[in-house]
């Protein structure tokens, strides 16, 4: 697999007297000068790309930390001792912990059904699974308000039975489930389709049970793809703002997740607090990117 994806350059690399022992792209200087740009054009294009990235990505990222530490490290650390901040962190972790196993279970089931069997309507099912990605976060929250809100379809019934979903934690969980719904399935379906079912069929013929086959053959084969999906899922679950904002009701200390707490602090002009909480999310985002590129490299091998 790896050899095929980098073939045009690596094949040439080896024919040039083993200049490159590892398979990787040839650096431009060693490629034939006729099929690349003049060095000054290259430098210009690289500079333009970096300038743009700096403007749109790096400056905003560094502003998070600059603003958070504006008044020194003690004020920064103090913002984490606020009980409301701690509650927000706890709620975010709780919601993420509920959402991950549910959507992982769904992703595994959907990938097994779609990748291992042939049936009618497979394309339609795959499209429907991707649907939440094309729905605005606000609409993702709105649909649950319409179902469970005070004036929603089940509103009166829920009030009679004293169950609160909207403006309470279950609503936040539902909205987060919806927006993170496709992540794991989307990673696993193409991966399992590419791997085929030969190994599983061999296992079955040798007398393994369905679950043995799944746990000993399928799961080890897809572990990096699964991890990748879980990373993307948890980043989105912790950072979701729009959908959660619609259903949460912003009750301080009760239904505020970290991103919602950031908004409240910011609107109260508590910028250090807002950016301190943001720095936590940004740090988590950077860790996500690190793990993600590590997993990507592992998957390519």
């Amino acid at each position: 697999m790896a050899a095929r994806t980098t073939s045009p350059y690596s094949v040439r690399g080896r024919s040039m007297g083993g200049l490159l022992s590892k398979r990787k792209l040839l650096p431009p200087a060693k490629r034939k000068p006729l099929t690349t740009e003049a060095p000054w054009v290259q430098a210009l294009l690289i500079a333009a790309a970096l300038l743009y990235l700096g403007f749109i990505l790096f400056i905003p990222l560094s502003v998070v930390f600059l603003k958070a530490f504006e008044k020194g490290i003690w004020i920064y650390l103090k913002s984490f001792t606020d009980p409301e901040a701690l509650n927000a962190i706890r709620l975010t972790l709780f919601v993420t912990a509920v959402v991950i196993p549910l959507n992982v279970l769904f992703g595994l089931a959907a990938a097994w059904a779609i990748a291992k069997f042939d049936f009618k309507g497979k394309n339609l099912l795959t499209t429907l699974i991707d649907l939440p990605f094309s729905v605005s976060p606000i609409i993702s929250g709105l649909i649950f308000v319409l179902l469970f809100g005070a004036h929603g379809w089940f509103g009166p019934w829920l009030r009679e039975h004293d169950i609160k979903i909207i403006f309470a934690v279950p609503g936040i969980v539902l909205a987060t489930l919806f927006v993170t719904f496709p992540f794991v399935a989307r990673e696993l379906i193409p991966l399992m389709q590419a791997q085929g079912s030969d190994e599983e069929e061999a296992g079955m013929t040798l007398g393994a049970s369905g679950f043995q086959t799944f746990f000993h053959i399928t799961l080890p084969n897809i572990r990096w793809g699964l991890l990748y999906g879980v990373i993307l899922l948890s980043a989105r679950a912790m950072g979701e703002f729009g959908a959660v904002s619609v259903v949460s009701g912003h009750i301080r200390g009760q239904t505020n997740t970290v991103p919602l707490h950031v908004e409240i602090l910011y609107n109260e002009y508590n910028f250090i607090g807002a950016f301190a909480m943001s720095s936590l999310l940004a740090l988590f985002g950077l860790v996500t990117l690190g793990i993600k590129s590590y997993v990507e490299r592992r998957m390519r091998q």
Partner: protein, 278 residues
């Protein structure tokens, strides 16, 4: 019945996995979404049209779709440039840059919103340099475009990158041997090959930008008729318990963006057929 639906396989668990998949899909996605469409059907057509042709709603629609379009266009140009540089050239720090391209996916939208506002407000690290030039970013449509450009940045890069990587050097070498210069090769070979992917990236960024909320509400200033986007208008209606208004606007936004995406897909399909790209 099931045997007719699926082909025979010796692997077990079709019923279990399929049943769970459909039930979960139904409960989490399909039933809630259809509840919204049912609600939309219960609004009388006259009321529905009145909600939509309200000047404030129309202004929000115009603003949302133009800013989303402009930002997707900016991303198409610079996303292509970044993908090109990452695939073709070698430079110091390339791996880090490659990983950081996905930052907008990993950074929560609310965080992006407040940092972009801080950076581009009149006292911010970038804003203070733009202010003397007479360019105001924060609390103007330009600010919305900046936020949407940030949010949609990875789409074009990540769709164009694999296509650029797969272009065989043979074709370029053949072109060179036939006397083509770099500009000819770029416009006659590379750009047509990468164009369908560029269009895909553009439409993904565009679709994401239409629905975006978190990163925009902080930088836009949210003035009705001027810097109020559709998702914000939906939230405002909801906060006033105007469910009908919220649903009518939400459904029309979904329908319009689906139609636009469908048109882009048709265009892409025709281009692909025309250029004989597999």
């Amino acid at each position: 019945m099931k045997a007719a639906l699926k082909q025979k396989s010796i692997l077990p668990g079709f019923g279990l996995s399929m049943g769970f998949t459909l039930a979960y899909l139904g409960f989490v996605v399909l039933i809630p979404l259809s509840a919204m469409f049912l609600k939309a059907l219960s609004i009388s057509p006259a009321d529905f049209i009145n909600i939509i042709i309200n000047p404030r709603t129309l202004a929000a629609f115009r603003l949302t779709f133009t800013t989303a379009f402009v930002s997707a266009l900016i991303n198409a140009i610079f996303g292509f440039l970044v993908a090109w540089v990452l695939v073709r050239y070698d430079f110091w720090g390339k791996k880090i840059i490659d990983a950081l391209v996905d930052l907008p996916f990993a950074l929560p939208t609310a965080v992006a919103g407040i940092t972009l506002t801080a950076a581009f407000s009149s006292h911010g690290v970038i804003g203070r340099w733009l202010e003397p030039l007479g360019i105001k970013v924060a609390y103007t449509p330009l600010g919305i475009i900046i936020a949407l450009t940030f949010i949609g940045f990875p789409f074009v890069v990540r769709t164009v990158e694999p296509v650029l990587r797969e272009i065989e050097p043979d074709m370029e070498e053949a072109a060179v041997s036939l006397g083509a210069n770099r500009a000819q090769i770029f416009f006659k070979i590379i750009l047509p090959t990468a164009f369908p992917a560029l269009l895909t990236g553009f439409s993904l960024a565009f679709a994401r930008s239409i629905g975006e909320y978190g990163s925009v509400v902080f930088i836009s200033g949210n003035m009705p008729m001027k810097t109020e986007i559709i998702p914000l208008l939906i939230v405002t209606k909801l906060e006033q318990y105007d469910y009908a208004g919220a649903v009518a606007i939400a459904v029309s936004m979904l329908v319009v963006s689906f139609i636009l995406l469908f048109l882009i897909n048709v265009l892409q399909w025709r281009l692909g057929r025309h250029l004989h790209i597999p």
